[in-house]
Symmetry: C2
Subunit: 350 residues, 2 copies
């Protein structure tokens, strides 16, 4: 019977809990809505109950490596406190880790959700073949995670990897973080929607305006569909997304010289609409990228970037889509106790 771990992806909307085996296979997945409005104690109570249920179900199914939990927000790894979490209002300065451990009677590994997703992609996703990668997650906001030597790079206090708050326009759109012109303001689903509304207000996007009359809660998905149908104002928005991402990735390549940069999150589904401008921007801005572009032309072999006739070499910089979709964070969370020093196997009370 295989060893397994419990992975938890606690989002602002959904709470997902899975039993994942040592090969990354999801043995069971439970999805419920996160009832944030009922308060943090209630959310944690229900989460811990579901974790217990899954543990009981798989009791005897193998060695339990532990419990990993990905949550949105900035976690102070030394204290287990949430510093900031726009998606979990009222959780700031709440001893999340301690509370969960008290209720479960065992230690857990707490991690930022974008870091968990990066670890998941490294484990069994896009980054399976590399040791180091930087992942940028495009959702409501823009998150990020850096994996080096197969492990999450935490920095001094666990706050590393905040790729969403790299400046791309110094005098640009004010950001919730206090800065201006962060990539989050140009490449998140929220930003896509905002740019569409701005274009409509300027009167320069008649088709988008029509779509908004039909569906006032204009979504990034609708803007993408318009772009696919050839609507120029919608396509322009995704070129802006690509440019902002290209600026960040170009700088990141010059700074890190990592073998792989992975784009994940819901907005990554619109890859075709933003990847060309993104890759062109990286090419122009990063001589390190140009010096490490995939160059071996092997007909018939599909590369992982847009150059389909190119086989990435061991020394190539790969910029690619995530492979695990919305499961990346969940799978990465389950991976946490398998790699962490904080394994909780021995003291799990089932």
């Amino acid at each position: 019977m295989p060893d397994f771990a419990i992975g938890v992806d606690l989002g602002g909307t959904n709470l997902r809990i899975a039993a994942v085996d040592a090969n990354g296979k999801v043995m069971e997945k439970i999805t419920t809505s996160t009832e944030v409005s009922r308060g943090r104690d209630q959310v944690i109570f229900e989460m811990c109950n579901t974790i217990q249920e899954v543990l009981v179900k798989f009791r005897g199914s193998g060695h339990i490596a532990g419990i990993g939990i990905g949550i949105p927000g900035i976690i102070d790894m030394q204290t287990g406190m949430l510093h900031e979490s726009p998606n979990l209002p009222g959780w700031q300065d709440y001893p999340v880790k301690q509370e969960i451990e008290r209720r479960l009677g065992t230690t857990v590994v707490l991690e930022n959700d974008a870091n968990s997703a990066a670890l998941g992609e490294k484990w069994i996703g896009a980054g399976e073949s590399v040791d180091d990668l930087c992942m940028i997650t495009l959702g409501t906001g823009v998150g990020g995670g850096i994996v080096t030597g197969g492990e999450i790079w935490h920095g001094m206090t666990g706050m590393a990897g905040e790729m969403g708050h790299v400046t791309v326009e110094p005098d640009g759109v004010p950001c919730g973080c206090g800065g201006r012109g962060c990539v989050e303001q140009y490449a998140s689903a929220t930003a896509i929607k905002r740019m569409a509304v701005e274009a409509i207000a300027k009167g320069s996007a008649p088709e988008l305006a029509r779509a908004m009359r039909e569906e006032p809660e204009l979504s990034a998905k609708v803007v993408y569909q318009m772009a696919l149908q050839g609507d120029e104002p919608a396509q322009k928005i995704f070129r802006t997304v690509g440019r902002a991402l290209g600026i960040v990735i170009g700088s990141a390549v010059n700074i890190f010289n990592l073998p792989m940069y992975v784009i994940g999150g819901g907005v990554a589904s619109a890859w075709d609409s933003f990847a060309p401008s993104m890759l062109e921007e990286v090419r122009v801005r990063s001589f390190v990228y140009r010096a490490t572009m995939p160059h071996e032309s092997v007909p018939g072999v599909q590369g992982t970037n847009v150059h389909d006739d190119v086989l990435p070499t061991r020394r190539s910089t790969i910029i690619t889509r995530a492979l695990l979709g919305s499961d990346a964070g969940l799978i990465g969370a389950a991976r946490l106790p398998m790699t962490s020093g904080e394994r909780a196997a021995s003291d799990l009370r089932l």
Copy 2:
């Protein structure tokens, strides 16, 4: 008798060679001019001769850890070739490491000069008390180096740490790297001079114009002196330097969450003129910085950033000046064989 190593700092203008003991003490330092115009073979011939002289002199003075050489430009660590080196014209795609080793009859450790400087500052400079730091070197260009766990972070091919080519103005001044608006275009000595000439041309800097009439080769140093004397246009230039650095460091703090960011190189002498705008920019743009600002107020204790009444804690983000001046690269180069797997002690032919 102490162990020692040979450090070499091969610049476009000066060639400096030192014997450095295991505590970082410079036992002997030889400075000559780099006669770039006589060709790379001649430069390497003279460098190797001087290295041999120093080795012979210190023969019997202790165990020789090896020879480390810092050179300007992008080095492919796997091949020992120079990819780009504006300061060493004609050295591109030249097997530098191999040539030096052939002449010396021993292995050497080759490293980018800004990486060497970062290692030097980590060893016995500003970063002595931390394991991880990011250094930005402000000279003719802007270089950088990242040290993690006490060692240089090389990335996939040894090109990591190119902090000078992080974008700060996406549509800004074209950069020699092919990009636009790199921090090098706003915070290098070359950029300071260019901004002064631009201000003069606009007629908005009468005092700088006067200085330039006296000394047509207006230097960054003269601009700094004017700023010190209260000249507003000169002060504005250094605020631009500070802003550009603050944008880069703010992003770097959000990405890395390192304990220390060190500013070195000749322009760092003008710290007082750019540090206030730099630190303010970092504070605004980085919530990670705000969450890790030095906060313990201990009267009489000098902090290492501008908040002189603040004692940095173990969890503080320190942004500070380099301490080793122009010796950082030389000392760091000597440190290379002491920490590298490529030590050459056993096969040194004296």
